[in-house]
C-alpha cells in the first residue's frame, strides 16, 4: 500500500463518516460544518485524482455554501444548538432501506461492470485544457450554466424578498384596479374567497 492509497482511505473514511454524522448530531451548526468537512475530504480526493481546479473550487464553494446554510439553520430552526436533544426524523426504516438499496445496487453495478481504465496523463495541463474547453467547444454548456445561475439568483430574490410589487408578499398583495377605483385586478386570494 502506497502513501497515496493510505491517504485515499483516510480521506474516504472522513468523507463518509462525517457525511453520516451530519444526520446524527443534535447541533444544526455542527451538522452543516460536518457536511463541509465531508466536502473538503472529497475535494482532497479530487486533488489526488489530478483535478486541482475542481477540487479547490469545491472547497471554496462549499465553505461559503455551508456558512450560509449554518446561518439559515440558526435562523429557521428552533433549538439550533441541539441543547434539548431531539429526533426530527420520519419514515426512518424506509429511508434506511432505500439508502442501503442504493448503496448496494450501485456497488454491485460498479463491481460487475467492466470499467474502462485509462488514467489521465501525469503531466497533462488539465487546468489549461479546462479553460480552453470552457471558452471553446463547451462554451454553450458553460454559458447555459451561467444563465441558469443568473435565473436562480433572480428567482431566489423574488421568492424570498418580502416586498412585492404591490405590497408585502405575506399580506396577499394584489395589483390595483384596471380603472381608477375599480376592483383589484388579478386573482382573488384564497382567504378572501372563503369570506365571501
Amino acid at each position: 500500500m502506497t502513501a497515496a492509497d493510505l491517504a485515499f482511505y483516510v480521506l474516504s473514511a472522513v468523507a463518509v463518516v462525517s457525511g453520516w454524522r451530519v444526520f446524527r448530531t443534535d447541533s444544526m451548526v455542527r451538522a452543516s460544518f460536518l457536511l463541509m468537512l465531508s466536502f473538503i475530504a472529497v475535494a482532497a480526493i479530487m486533488l489526488m485524482l489530478a483535478a486541482p481546479y475542481i477540487g479547490m473550487a469545491t472547497v471554496f464553494m462549499m465553505a461559503v455554501e455551508m456558512m450560509v446554510m449554518a446561518l439559515f439553520m440558526v435562523m429557521f430552526m428552533m433549538n439550533p444548538a441541539g441543547l434539548n436533544p431531539m429526533s426530527m426524523v420520519h419514515q426512518n426504516r424506509l429511508s434506511i432501506g432505500a439508502a442501503a438499496t442504493a448503496f448496494v445496487g450501485l456497488t454491485v453495478a460498479v463491481l460487475f461492470t467492466d470499467l474502462p481504465h485509462e488514467k489521465v496523463a501525469r503531466q497533462a495541463p488539465v487546468i489549461r485544457d479546462l479553460g480552453h474547453e470552457l471558452l471553446g467547444p463547451s462554451m454553450l454548456v458553460f454559458e447555459s450554466a451561467g444563465v441558469t445561475l443568473l435565473a436562480a439568483m433572480v428567482a431566489s430574490v423574488v421568492l424570498s424578498a418580502r416586498s412585492g410589487r404591490f405590497g408585502p408578499s405575506d399580506e396577499g398583495s394584489r395589483p390595483p384596479g384596471l380603472e381608477p377605483g375599480g376592483e383589484p385586478a388579478g386573482r382573488v386570494p384564497e382567504s378572501e374567497q372563503e369570506d365571501e
Binding site: 485515499f8 468523507a15 420520519h90 488539465v126 480552453h132 463547451s138
Partner: protein, 101 residues
Amino acid sequence: MTLTAVLIVAAALIGIGLYGALSQQSFVMLMMGLELILNGVLLAVIAFWSLGAGGPPRGQVLAIVVMAVMAVEMAVGFALVTAVFRRRQADTTEKLGTLKE
C-alpha cells in the same frame, strides 16, 4: 486508489445522502441530504474522468455543471424555504400538506 474503490466511496455518499433526503423532517436538513448526493455524484464524475476516460477536457466541464446544479439547488431551495416560512411558519415537511396558498 482504483476507479472501483473511488466509485464505491461515491456510492456510499449517495446512499447516506439519500437516507438524509428521505428521513429528515426539517427542510434544511433535507437539503443537506441532497447536497451529499451531489457530493457523491461529483466524486464519481471526477473519478471517471481521471481514472477511466483518460482525462478528456469535457469531463471537467461535466463536473462544473454538477457544481452549478449544487449552487442552484441551494439558492432556490433556501428561497423557497424562506417563502414558505414567511407564509406559514413551516420549517418541516409535515407542515406542508398542501401546495395551495
